[in-house]
Amino acid sequence: MLRAGSGAGVVAALAAAGFFAPGEALAAWAKDAFEGKSVADAMKAMGATASGASGDVQIVASDIAENGAVVPIQAISKAANTQQIAIMVEKNPNVLAAIFDVGPDVLPDFTTRIKMGETSNVTVLVKADGKFLTATKEIKVTLGGCGG
């Protein structure tokens, strides 16, 4: 699991999230990973100490975002036995945007929209067969509107 080995983080996350209703067996939020200030920090918190770029990881996104508040991203893994997919934005204050668990019933293919404070590399991290694979793409964020 990406969040393995962060027992303290689990407790902290529970506290940060207030309380869960009885019976809500939601997985703990990976606080340490989400508070990572660099890609290295976030990856370390997710247990990804060693990783390599791979053609099996795909990022579908436009090269330019007309506005950084909403940047559409599709993250796809072609790797066998994909377990998790994470999206990271290198220059955001907290780099980790999302972690998706890939159970037996879903395809490793997720689309969402993220915020980007400025032009930055976006990295998709895939955990497959216990190994970590990445793909990185630069997305330019432009200024817009009359306010400049």
């Binding site: 996104a61 090269d63 330019i64 508040a69 330019k140 817009g144 009359c146």
Partner: protein, 271 residues
């Protein structure tokens, strides 16, 4: 303007020849990127969330009289929502005024629900009262999606609203000397990377008129046409237009009539 060519223009012509290859290439890449971005946004417009809440507001009894807006006459008869937005603004006999969707909603809130609408006129945008009106416009405009714009200028007051709107469109004032036409009076212009429709022509008017109300990703807000016009005047460095005033309705009449025959694509999604 006209044949008078400022010296800066000459410079521009020179340099666009000098560095044509590079500049054109960059522009193409940027334009392509923006196009891909807009395409990706189309699937899943958060405006749908506002359509849902707008429909709820439409059906929910409210105001001192505790009745819903379902009997509101938007021009096609009491309670008829489908297609109504495509024919607004129009002249209404009961108020003896030309009204756009938002000014008509105020009329219905006042007459049907007994609401003091002055509070709604005064409220800032992005506060509860205005947000309710905007959500209603999302729902009602959505019920005209796919319909053709069919705005009449036959009634003398409709005709006059159009002429007043046109004159307003070209009216320059304020420290920056801007009018609506400064940005929306020529083809193929843009501010930063945002394309500016030429509203004086059918193609431009339809690009503008048929895609508002719209969800704006830059602010995460749903904007009605009244809000759009309000913010244009803000950036023109004009004083603030009064919500649902004859002035704002006249400008809408000018745009809508220029867009006649085009297909409504509301609610839209924008930068």
């Amino acid at each position: 303007m006209g044949a008078r060519i400022p010296s800066a223009l000459v410079v521009a012509a020179l340099c666009s020849v000098a560095s044509f290859g590079v500049v054109a290439q960059e522009k193409d890449d940027a334009a392509k990127g923006i196009e891909a971005y807009r395409e990706a946004l189309k699937d899943g417009n958060p405006a749908e969330l506002f359509e849902m809440s707008g429909e709820e507001l439409w059906r929910k009894p409210a105001g001192p009289k505790n009745v819903s807006l379902e009997k509101c006459d938007l021009g096609l008869g009491a309670g008829k929502v489908e297609g109504a937005y495509a024919q607004l603004p129009r002249y209404f006999k009961d108020t003896n005024k030309v009204q756009d969707l938002e000014s008509r909603l105020l009329t219905c809130m006042s007459t049907l629900q007994g609401v003091d609408t002055a509070e709604y006129v005064k409220a800032r945008f992005n506060t509860a009262k205005k947000n309710d009106l905007v959500a209603l416009t999302a729902y009602i405009s959505g019920a005209s999606n796919g319909k053709k714009v069919k705005v009449s200028t036959k009634h003398p007051m409709e005709k006059q609203a159009f002429e007043l709107g046109k004159r307003m469109f070209f009216y320059q004032a304020g420290p920056h000397d801007f009018s609506c036409a400064t940005c929306h009076g020529e083809d193929g212009r843009r501010i930063r990377l945002q394309d500016l429709p030429n509203i004086t022509k059918h193609e431009g008017a339809l690009a503008g008129w048929t895609t508002w109300p719209a969800y704006r990703v830059s602010s995460g807000q749903m904007w009605s046409m009244q809000w759009r016009i309000n913010d244009c005047f803000r950036q023109q460095r004009f004083p603030e237009p009064v919500y649902a005033s004859d002035l704002t309705v006249a400008l809408s009449m000018f745009m809508a009539a220029n867009a006649n025959g085009a297909t409504i694509q509301t609610p839209g999604i924008k930068r």
